[in-house]
């Protein structure tokens, strides 16, 4: 068999032929004079040719505490201060306990586990009692973490069997994301030449062959009467780094182009809004539960906008309070607070943009849309993102009606979501009447909500000076994007991990090819 070697392979093979016991990978760069990446390439090629064997000599796991861990070491573990709080205040309820921390999710797991272990007991009336003391294994775990936190990284393999189990169990239980400990695995590997496959002679013959074509070679014609070393084309080439549009951006762009093609003009507006535009102008009563501090992000400073256009504000006030010019409405019949209207918040719905557009003498007939970043007051998890994109828009037309609204939604369901089966469900939004939710059938996931829509209420239109009926619509664009990009966790849409990002892009490429899309 004739071998065909790259000079890097030759360099490595020569070394290995000399050292029958093999060489540790760590030592290779020094011994061969190659750099680490060259060594890695050559090892890869030789392994593919079946000439060498790579063995794992030793695994060392460095354990250190993460930022979260440092905090716990400094301030105590949730389990510990939960107990302390309960001890200090016998009348403490679960709810009140949750409220003592900024991030209730942080402790709810600990509470659950303590309840299960019988350490916390719920009593009638909602107060908590301490039952058993903390289990020994937990106490030892805490002590271990403190030890690790107060020393340079500890090697896992040097710990006692019991401690090692505790530490690894902790890693499994808490997951990788917000773990307390960080594990860095360092592997020591060794490569050995397999017996009897090549001899030093195999390498000599190779050295006469010419390597890469060089400008000098062409100019001096040194290639004449000599042979080139054949390259093995079946060796996987190195992957180049590539620059790509973010796959979610690509999807947003596609939706934007579709909407523009359908005659929609794009709106844009501020992410910081006033309560007035985010809610009052949309006829959401000032006492509505969705305006609570648990549902909207308020800005700490400045707290209020300088002013709201007094003319529009006066008209909006009238429909809210139900006195003055109310355009045939009874209004909410509740006091209207002008300072509340000025309060600054993070836009919670793209409809705020539609309200602003309607107040600025929009075109009739007119179609507008926005792909707007909105903010949701929720614990972040795999189905809830802290901020997200919403597709949102309006259609102003003399003859706009419930049927045109259904027509538009049908068009979106077909054009944007590629759906064939559609169902319209009655819905409620404070600013539209009638209101509708559009559901579409996904081939795999079954029926799902695509978006909400309706005809703006007169209480919204008239104060803003709009005299024609207006269709308002919104589409849940993040969910559609997740389907396209093969994601099950919404947080991945805004992930910083390049691996996640490239997986998303490749998954999109595959679904595109499989579904026969041309884009």
């Amino acid at each position: 068999m004739t071998w065909n070697f790259h000079p890097l392979e030759i360099a490595l093979l020569k070394l290995l032929l000399e050292k029958s016991g093999g060489v540790s990978v760590e030592a290779l760069p020094v011994l061969s004079g190659l750099d680490t990446s060259q060594v890695q390439m050559a090892i890869g090629w030789l392994k593919a040719k079946g000439l060498i064997e790579e063995t794992l000599e030793e695994v060392q796991t460095e354990v250190s505490v993460t930022e979260t861990g440092k905090l716990a070491v400094e301030q105590g573990f949730p389990e510990e201060w939960i107990l302390e709080k309960v001890r200090k205040n016998p009348a403490l309820t679960l709810d009140a306990l949750r409220k003592t921390v900024e991030d209730p999710a942080q402790i709810s797991k600990a509470i659950g586990e303590l309840k299960e272990a019988g350490v916390l007991e719920l009593q009638a009336g909602g107060t908590i009692r301490i039952g058993k003391s903390l289990p020994d294994s937990l106490l030892r775990t805490f002590a271990l973490i403190r030890e690790i936190g107060n020393s340079p990284p500890v090697i896992l393999e040097t710990l006692s069997v019991e401690d090692r189990e505790l530490v690894t169990a902790l890693q499994r239980k808490r997951g990788k994301g917000k773990g307390i400990l960080r594990f860095d695995v360092r592997e020591k590997r060794r490569i050995v030449l397999k017996d009897g496959l090549i001899s030093p002679g195999d390498l000599d013959a190779q050295e006469d062959l010419m390597g890469p074509v060089t400008p000098e070679m062409i100019q001096n014609r040194t290639f004449r009467d000599r042979s080139f070393r054949p390259y093995s084309l079946d060796t996987p080439p190195p992957r180049p780094s590539i620059g790509l549009i973010h796959p979610y951006r690509e999807y947003l762009n596609q939706v934007r182009k579709q909407l523009v093609r359908l005659g929609f003009e794009e709106m844009s507006g501020p992410i910081v809004e006033t309560e007035f535009w985010n809610m009052d102008a949309l006829f959401i009563p000032q006492t509505h539960p969705a305006r609570d501090i648990h549902d909207i992000y308020f800005i700490r400073e400045p707290r209020e906008a300088r002013a709201i256009d007094p003319e529009v504000a006066r008209k909006v006030r009238a429909v809210h309070s139900g006195s003055g010019e109310t355009f045939g409405s009874r209004g909410w019949r509740q006091p209207y607070n002008e300072n509340q209207a000025k309060r600054l918040l993070l836009r919670s719905q793209g409809t705020a943009l539609s309200a602003r557009t309607m107040a600025l003498a929009p075109k009739v007939p007119g179609k507008y849309f926005a792909l707007a970043r909105c903010f949701r007051y929720e614990q972040v998890d795999q189905t809830h993102a802290v901020d997200f994109y919403q597709a949102e828009g309006i259609v102003l037309e003399e003859d706009a009606s419930f049927r045109t609204l259904l027509g538009l939604l049908t068009l979106f369901a077909q054009e944007v979501a590629g759906a064939k089966e559609i169902h319209f469900k009655p819905a409620y939004f404070p600013f539209t009447e009638p209101s509708v939710e559009v559901h579409v059938r996904h081939p795999v996931l079954g029926w799902m909500e695509l978006g909400g829509a309706g005809l703006f209420r007169p209480e919204v239109l008239k104060p803003l000076g709009v005299e024609v009926p207006v269709i308002a619509w919104g589409l849940g664009i993040d969910r559609m994007a997740m389907m396209r990009l093969g994601l099950s966790d919404i947080r991945d849409l805004f992930s910083g991990s390049l691996n996640t990002l490239y997986d998303m892009t490749l998954s999109r490429a595959r679904t595109r090819r499989e579904s026969g899309e041309t884009l």
Binding site: G243, H288, R300, E301, W332, L344, R403, Y428, F494
Partner: protein, 576 residues
């Protein structure tokens, strides 16, 4: 569009079917729930337990199984009795609540009624408690606007007295405890007192409801008394009250509860509330009427609507009366609803009653020209250029933590906008720069093959601190930022990329050395359009001290450009 906070109801298929007077499969139920804007969240075939989400936050009458059954029956009571038989005609003059003026500045409005019947059974009681909770928590906004109390009638002697007394002057045994506490003690020690006590903060007197013997029935809106305030399955006769600030809201809540009890076979006796010589009766079942203009149903639907069809659909949907008149339909709304604000609300009920799927969709017919926002072409051009240079685009969340924005970059936090009420500190600030996320991304991606070249374009927010006579202001920016990381990354390479990109955007700014954090001194600087003008951006090699802080093990260079300063007519502005 955002759905609001939605009430969720737990019931059983049997209870719902009994009340609705018909049986249906789960699939059928899912479809029928369209009529009440409900959505079946879960159903357990073994126990028959159902979880239903009610999306109409403006129709509290539908937040209970009785209300759903009633609506599915087209507004007829599940008890198969006519609504005009709901209130006993035989008046009982002793059923009275006397309101003392002392309560007017504390929690002025009270209403109530008496319900007599066969006992609720376990399902009925569970539902009554759920409904009471839901009306107080959601409609009553955590009891601040409305709080409801339910009592067995047996131990109560009328008339009742509603008054406000000093916190230390009265004591009673509250529900769930065994010892007497005065009103202040209830706020301090009772679980409900701790939850709702803030509703009475700043008041020097607290409201109490006492019966004629002087026994405390309840301490609204906190808790009932143990003696008189615990309802059991076998309790036949009940007394129900609601307190708050708005007579209309109290009226609606009591009307809904009366209708629900009537639906379960009860008879209702009205109760009068007297205050300063005036007297009001609850429940008050007089229907609200309005006129729907003749042309409105057709205009909203988008097709001709027959007068009889409109009338019959509304009657089928539970309206008390619909009269066809010259200038419109005179419509009487059921007494348990208060969501009809405008004639258009009746039209929606017509559409729902007929079925949304019965209308054939038609497209808007007028031509309009589509157009992208002004700043899109510039951004698309930047993306094209960056991708040509091999940069990968990132997208990140706008909310971030204050530490990432400030101390992690060695910058002060005076320009970062903070959230007043964050869910967690991790998302407690609005980003003022994109470079934190670029660094975060690099830190997360050390196992991804190098070189790394990353960029992002997006909105950010900057606070301009208050001046001597100026309040702080906000400026929304659109930023364009990039990162490179690989073994030989240096500022010159990045400056090359950046200046080349800007050249193709028609701009040739100059680099000017400046010491900025988190960069290496002497390897960072500003970009300016001219000598005199302010900086439009920055560039620099990240100091290893900060790389270590972020957990990055590779030389890293950053830049950031404020596109609004490069293109003066660009992007949105903050609200004025």
């Amino acid at each position: 569009m955002k759905g609001s906070l939605v009430p969720t109801l737990e019931t059983t298929l049997t209870d719902l079917q009994t009340l609705a007077g018909t049986t249906f499969s789960i699939e059928e139920l899912e479809r029928r729930l369209d009529w009440v804007k409900g959505e079946l969240k879960s159903s357990d075939p073994k126990t028959g337990n159902l979880k239903i989400e009610l999306n109409d936050t403006n129709r509290p009458d539908l937040w209970c199984v009785e209300g759903i059954a009633r609506q599915l029956r087209g507004g007829k009571s599940p008890s198969d009795r006519s609504w005009d038989r709901m209130i006993d005609q035989t008046d009982d003059p002793t059923l009275e609540i006397r309101v003392d003026p002392s309560v007017l500045s504390v929690r002025p409005i009270i209403g109530g009624f008496v319900a007599r019947g066969p006992g609720l059974g376990s399902q009925g009681l569970t539902q009554l408690i759920q409904t009471q909770e839901r009306l107080s928590e959601l409609y009553g906004r955590k009891r601040s606007d409305v709080a409801v109390g339910v009592y067995p009638l047996r131990a109560i002697s009328f008339p009742l007295h509603y008054e406000a007394v000093p916190p230390g002057s009265l004591s009673f045994v509250p529900l769930g405890l065994t010892e007497r506490l005065d009103l202040r003690g209830v706020l301090e020690h009772h679980p409900k007192g701790k939850t709702y006590g803030a509703l009475l903060s700043g008041k020097s007197r607290y409201p109490v409801l006492r019966d004629t013997s002087g026994a405390v029935l309840s301490f609204p809106p906190i808790t009932n008394a143990r003696e008189t305030g615990e309802v059991t399955e076998s309790d036949g006769d009940l007394f129900i009250e609601a307190t708050g600030f708005d007579r209309e809201r109290i009226r609606l809540v009591l009307n809904i509860l009366a209708a629900n009890l009537f639906d379960r076979g009860y008879r209702i006796t009205a109760l009068s509330v007297s205050e300063d010589g005036r007297s009001t009766r609850f429940p008050d079942t007089k229907s609200h009427t309005l006129v729907v203009p003749n042309d409105l149903p057709g205009r909203v639907a988008g097709e001709p609507v027959g007068k009889e069809a409109f009338r019959d659909m509304l009657l089928n949907y539970g309206y008390d009366r619909v009269e066809i008149g010259k200038d419109g339909y005179r419509v009487a709304v059921p007494f348990y609803r208060d969501d009809i604000l405008h004639p258009v609300d009746c039209v929606e009920d017509f559409l729902i009653a007929r079925g949304y799927d019965s209308f054939s969709p038609t497209l808007p017919s007028l031509f309009t020209a589509g157009r992208e926002a002004r700043f899109r072409p510039v951004e698309d051009k930047i993306r094209e250029l960056m991708i040509g240079l091999g940069f990968q685009e990132l997208l990140s969340n706008i909310l971030t933590s204050l530490e990432r924005e400030s101390s992690d970059l060695g910058r002060d936090s005076s320009r970062t906008v903070e959230i007043d009420n964050p869910v967690s500190r991790q998302y407690g600030a609005v980003r003022s720069t994109l470079i934190s996320f670029l660094l975060h991304s690099e830190a997360q991606s050390s196992r991804f093959p190098y070189p790394h070249r990353l960029f992002e374009i997006g909105e950010a927010l900057e606070k301009r601190p208050a001046g001597p006579d100026m309040p702080p202001t906000l400026r929304e920016k659109r930023l364009f930022s990039g990162l490179i990381a690989h073994p030989s990354a240096a500022v010159s390479e990045m400056a090359g990329y950046l200046l080349e990109t800007l050249r193709y955007l028609g701009s040739e700014p100059r680099l000017e050395s400046a010491d900025l954090s988190p960069y290496i001194s002497g390897r960072s600087g500003f970009l300016r359009l001219t000598h005199q003008s302010g900086p439009i951006g920055e560039i620099g090699e990240v100091h290893p001290e900060y790389l270590e802080r972020w957990g990055i093990r590779m030389p890293t260079v950053l830049f950031e450009i404020d596109l609004g300063l490069l293109f003066p007519s660009y992007g949105p502005s903050a609200p004025q």
